[in-house]
């Protein structure tokens, strides 16, 4: 079984290095094929591990080698396959495998085909390190690896020039990549502080040792650690106020978006909270803030998705919103529900993105849904997948989203927090509305793309076939909720609905479903016939506010970027005037000194000897003085 752990972990690395060998050469089909095969090997190993753990309840813990042994600090390269990590492994490798296969088709015409696969596999490897590490340090390595790979992938088309925000809200791929990386760095500082707090107080970074020490730690320490760790999670999971990078990350190729949103990157924050649940469960204040922030983000992101015209951005906002759901669940203590939603969400969100990729591919990189419509004739398979995924996202019975999202809303009710409960229900309605607004505007109604001279076509067959596992899982994943509960409670604290909620559960389900179906119906009424634009609506303050993402990017630029740039300019001037001038001064003094003392080099040995004698006398004086001093 240990070898399976290593196979699951290192197959993506091998894939990355293999693809990296050909990174500078023109496209080679076999690179994609072999990478996908290796990823599939990784998935198979993960699945076997999962089966093994489920059937034998045996956690597999391996130690590759010592990594850092300095003084009291001993950090091994240890990996663990337990209930949580194996769940994540299966989800990550499955989605990644599909994305790899999909990429063979999607990146067909890209000249950096091989490089793309190298990055993609490295991304998966980093995520696996993050997930499988048995200590916080390894997790941090994976954490940073994911950050680096996201930077590489978002900026994959780095050669595109910068444009203004009016043309492209993300300015350019390299700009978006930098934004993502810098925002993550800011949050990572919090993460690091959290790790330092833990190490300072516990003396170790191993999960088991740290969690065993929790009862001995002061509440203030735990609160600080939890808060610091959550700041890290906020960055990776793009929680408010560090959320802007996520939508800008759409500049990367669509498979990357799918990977980031479904499997590798944004789920890391949720994973951290779930992984460190012993810490968060003893810090109710932090947990409550997490829940509140999660709920807020769910609503906040959904509201922005309502009016957006960019296909991928709508889906990105929906990810943000669903992450809010996950954090709400985790904050309320229902960690396994959060993990379940994470897994279920991964399947249909990946499906959505890949579908969006198909559309984009078919529409020749056009993403504005106002320029689409009636695509269902041209892209039947994609339409099916997208519709299915949107239904799952909206939470329609009996699809995956229904089970997981319903459980979260139920949890909010069960906790007696009616404000969160109401907001989450309304958000569920909004989710249904924007999802189907997007579906209807894309696939139904009049065919607006003709005016732009676009001839849409369906994606390759094998790509559609490769996507089918995701579609199946988007439908059936929710059915395993009970089984998953039994599987995961070996590790995560169980969360049971209390008695009075239990007999109200049906009503809550009905209310949620009513909101969801209501949202779909509203979207159908408004958009099924085609696009009807109303000047009044689009001119209203709320519409503008939402479509401009609450002006947050603008505010960030005005409040943070610009002053920071000014400050940097000031510092640059100080550097030029003070530091550089000082350095120059030293050089000038030496130069002038050399010029002045050049006369000493008369070429006359006698003069040199005289100077040597003077030096000898000076040394003698020093020697005598030191004798006297001593």
């Amino acid at each position: 079984m240990e070898s399976l752990v290593y196979i699951a972990l290192f197959a993506p690395l091998v894939s990355s290095l293999f693809a990296g060998l050909f990174a500078m050469t023109p496209k080679k089909q076999f690179v994609g094929v072999i990478s996908s095969l290796l990823l599939f090997v990784s998935f198979a190993a993960s699945a076997i591990l999962a089966y093994h753990i489920a059937s034998t309840n045996e956690v597999i813990h391996v130690k590759l080698m010592d990594w850092i042994v300095v003084g009291g600090l001993n950090i091994p390269f240890g990996f663990i396959a337990d209930y949580v990590s194996v769940t994540m492994m299966v989800v990550v490798t499955l989605v990644s495998t599909v994305v790899h296969i999909y990429s063979i088709g999607y990146m067909d015409h890209d000249k950096s085909f091989n490089r793309f696969f190298s990055y993609l596999s490295a991304f998966v490897f980093s995520m696996l390190v993050l997930v499988m590490s048995d200590n916080f340090a390894g997790l941090f390595i994976g954490w940073e690896g994911v950050g680096v790979c996201s930077w590489l992938l978002i900026g994959f088309w780095y050669h595109k020039a910068d444009v203004t925000r009016d043309i492209n809200p993300s300015i350019s791929p390299s700009w978006a990549a930098n934004e993502a990386f810098i925002m993550n760095r800011i949050a990572d500082l919090g993460m690091l502080v959290g790790l330092f707090i833990i190490y300072w107080n516990v003396g170790s970074l191993q999960y088991d040792i740290v969690f065993a020490q929790i009862p001995n730690l002061a509440p203030a320490v735990l609160t600080a650690a939890a808060a610091a760790l959550f700041i890290g999670a906020m960055g990776k999971s793009a929680q408010f106020p560090l959320h802007t990078w996520l939508t800008d990350a759409m500049e990367g190729p669509t498979p990357v978006s799918a990977l980031i949103h479904a499997a590798t990157m944004v789920t890391a924050g949720v994973f951290l909270v779930i992984r460190a649940n012993p810490i968060f469960s003893v810090t109710p204040e932090v947990s409550y803030i997490i829940a509140a922030l999660g709920t807020f983000v769910a609503f906040f992101a959904a509201s922005m998705a309502l009016v957006n015209r960019d296909l991928k951005r709508i889906i990105a906002f929906s990810t943000l919103s669903q992450l809010g759901y996950m954090f709400a669940a985790a904050g309320l203590g229902a960690y396994w529900i959060a993990l379940f939603h994470l897994a279920a969400h991964a399947f249909f969100k990946a499906l959505l993105f890949l579908g969006a990729g198909n559309v984009m591919h078919g529409m020749h990189n056009e993403l504005d849904i106002f320029k689409m419509g009636g695509l269902k004739k041209a892209m039947r398979g994609t339409y099916l997948y997208m519709g299915l995924a949107s239904l799952a996202l909206a939470g329609i019975f009996p699809l995956a989203g229904f089970y997981s999202k319903d459980a979260i809303i139920e949890t909010a009710f069960n906790e007696g927090n009616l404000i969160l409960f109401v907001i989450l229900i309304i958000t569920a309605g909004m989710t249904a509305f924007y999802s189907f607004r997007q579906v209807f505007l894309t696939f139904h109604g009049d065919e607006r793309y003709h005016e732009f001279g676009i001839h849409p076509h369906e994606m390759y067959k094998y790509v559609l076939i490769a996507m089918s596992p995701l579609a199946i899982l988007a439908v059936i994943a929710g059915w395993f909720k009970g089984w998953f509960n039994g599987f995961i409670i070996h590790m995560l604290p169980n969360y049971e609905m209390s008695e009075h909620t239990h007999h109200l559960a049906l009503y809550i389900t009905l209310i949620v479903s009513a909101f969801a179906i209501g949202g779909i119906i509203l979207a159908y009424i408004k958009y099924n016939k085609g696009l009807v634009r109303s000047e009044k609506t689009e001119g209203s303050f709320v519409y503008k506010l939402l479509s401009n993402q609450y002006y947050i990017p603008v505010i960030y630029e005005a409040m943070i970027s610009k002053p920071y740039a000014e400050l940097s300019k000031l510092a640059w001037k100080a550097d030029m005037k003070i530091v550089d001038a000082l350095v120059d001064l030293i050089a000038k003094i030496i130069y002038a000194g050399g010029d002045k003392t050049r006369g000493m080099q008369s070429g006359n040995l006698s003069n040199y000897l005289n100077w040597m004698a003077v030096g000898a006398i000076a040394l003698l004086v020093v020697a005598i003085l030191s004798l006297f001093v001593a």
Partner: protein
């Protein structure tokens, strides 16, 4: 009674004489002579210390100083002869060709 200090002071004076020679003279040969004086002054100090502290190390040092002086004269004299053959002078003032 003659103590160690007597020898050391004598060595110091001899060394100073050698130093004066090094500073004063411009003839290469005379510079060599002055250097020899300084080496000998050091040797006197070594031998005296060796005697008064009952330690043979001082004499050992003096032996190696003498060995160094012997090699110095072998090489130095060879160079001296070459310089004289080439420049027809041993005066440092006339040999100053490496002016900065």
């Amino acid at each position: 009674m003659i103590g160690l200090n007597h020898y050391l002071v004598l060595a110091g004076i001899l060394f100073a004489i050698g130093l004066i020679g090094v500073l004063r003279r411009r003839n290469l040969l005379m510079l060599f002579f002055s250097t020899e004086i300084m080496l000998n002054a050091a040797n006197v100090a070594f031998a005296a210390i060796s005697n008064f502290y009952n330690d043979l190390s001082g004499q050992m040092f003096a032996f190696f100083v003498i060995a160094i002086a012997a090699s110095e004269v072998a090489i130095g004299l060879g160079l001296l002869i070459l310089v004289y053959k080439k420049e027809n002078t041993l005066d440092l003032d006339d040999l100053a060709s490496m002016k900065g």
